[in-house]
Amino acid sequence: MDEDLDLINRTQAGERDAFDGLVLKYQKPLYSLIYRMVSNHDDASDILQKTFVKAFTGLDSFERRSSFKTWLYQIAINLAKNVYRDRSRAVFIPLDDVIIKKDPRTLDMLIQKESRLQLRQALTGLPDKQRMTVMLRVQENRKFDEIAKIMKCSLGTAKANYHHGVQKLKVQLGEKNKNWET
């Protein structure tokens, strides 16, 4: 945190090394997050660059109460949302269209056959906030309090979004179907 503030101050003072330091420090975790949202390198690369540009051109508006990393995540998520929404409109799969009904396999079978595509499709069907919260918690290993700051919501809301999201994924991927069978 202090290291970030030092780099930010030096960046504002025009030091190129500090600028590069911030980019090098956060480019990989940001790219990972963005890639999981947009699922292709070209968009992820473009959004990553835009995230940094937006952050550095608006550095004066950065309130130093929250961490720089959280602020970057907020910018990246907002930028990625637009691309994600455009794409999800094209390949939208409604939540009620239970994939499992067509091929009623259990989750274990899905894992065995590495049907990750279905998982991605199920993630696509989640509401934005739930999807982002699940991704941040499970794939980005962010803690709930950090997720709450990134998503600009309360800790309770972040946890609720996570639980609802995971529950819907389970339903989508067959758990509900399995229960019916049993």
Partner: protein, 209 residues
């Protein structure tokens, strides 16, 4: 469906092996009998194992330079006049508007207080109209007798004699009867011309003994 929310919240950390020994044992114990949580754990593992392809060293190494150039380009680009941006900049907090209002009211009050005072018009002797404001020097109501010719002086003298006669008589009467009266009150009611005229009369009386 399992309602052990506290266990479910520990599952992501369990997947990444970030739990302490006690919590790990607790989760493992729960998973031993809860199928719902085992299913959820499988789901989380599948998600966590989703790998993001590495774009390569060149990509990472050139990113700072690309970002720097884009930032410089954006900064150097001239921004057109944007009314919305201007309005946005004018958006001030309430206390700032209140302070500005108080300041404006204070300034208006200050100008009102500091504006030149309007003295009452000095009425001239009857039958003689003051020609213009040149007759009134420095805007205080003082008449410069040196500017009058002899005829004008005579008119003024007649008028002043009539106007001040009653006061002079009253003063003489009071002095003659040793009346204890505060003359300052009477004198305070005189205007500048009358005071001047009175002082001339007194001097005149003194000279004549």
């Amino acid at each position: 469906m399992c309602t052990a929310i506290d266990i479910k919240e520990l599952l992501p950390a369990f997947v990444e092996q970030g739990l302490g020994h006690a919590d790990t044992l607790r989760v493992e114990g729960h998973l031993g009998f809860c199928e719902d949580c085992r299913t959820e754990l499988s789901l989380l593992r599948m998600m966590a194992e989703e790998r993001v392809p590495d774009p390569g060293k060149v990509f990472w190494a050139t990113m700072p330079d690309r970002v720097y150039r884009a930032v410089q380009e954006q900064k150097s680009r001239r921004k057109p006049f944007d009314l919305a941006r201007l309005a946005d900049r004018l958006t001030l907090p309430r206390w700032a508007w209140a302070a500005a209002t108080v300041g404006i009211v204070f300034m208006i009050s200050w100008f009102i207080i500091q504006s030149p005072r309007h003295y009452p018009d000095v009425s001239g002797p009857p039958g003689y109209d003051l020609p213009d404001e040149n007759m009134i020097a420095d805007n205080t109501g003082t008449l410069h007798l040196s500017e009058f010719d002899q005829d004008e002086l005579n008119i003024v003298d007649d008028w002043a004699g009539r106007e001040l006669a009653s006061i002079a008589h009253e003063a003489e009467f009071l002095m003659a009867n040793n009346h204890d009266t505060d003359m300052y009150e009477e004198l305070a009611e005189l205007n500048a011309q009358e005071v001047k005229r009175l002082s001339e009369i007194i001097i005149h009386y003194k000279q004549e003994g």
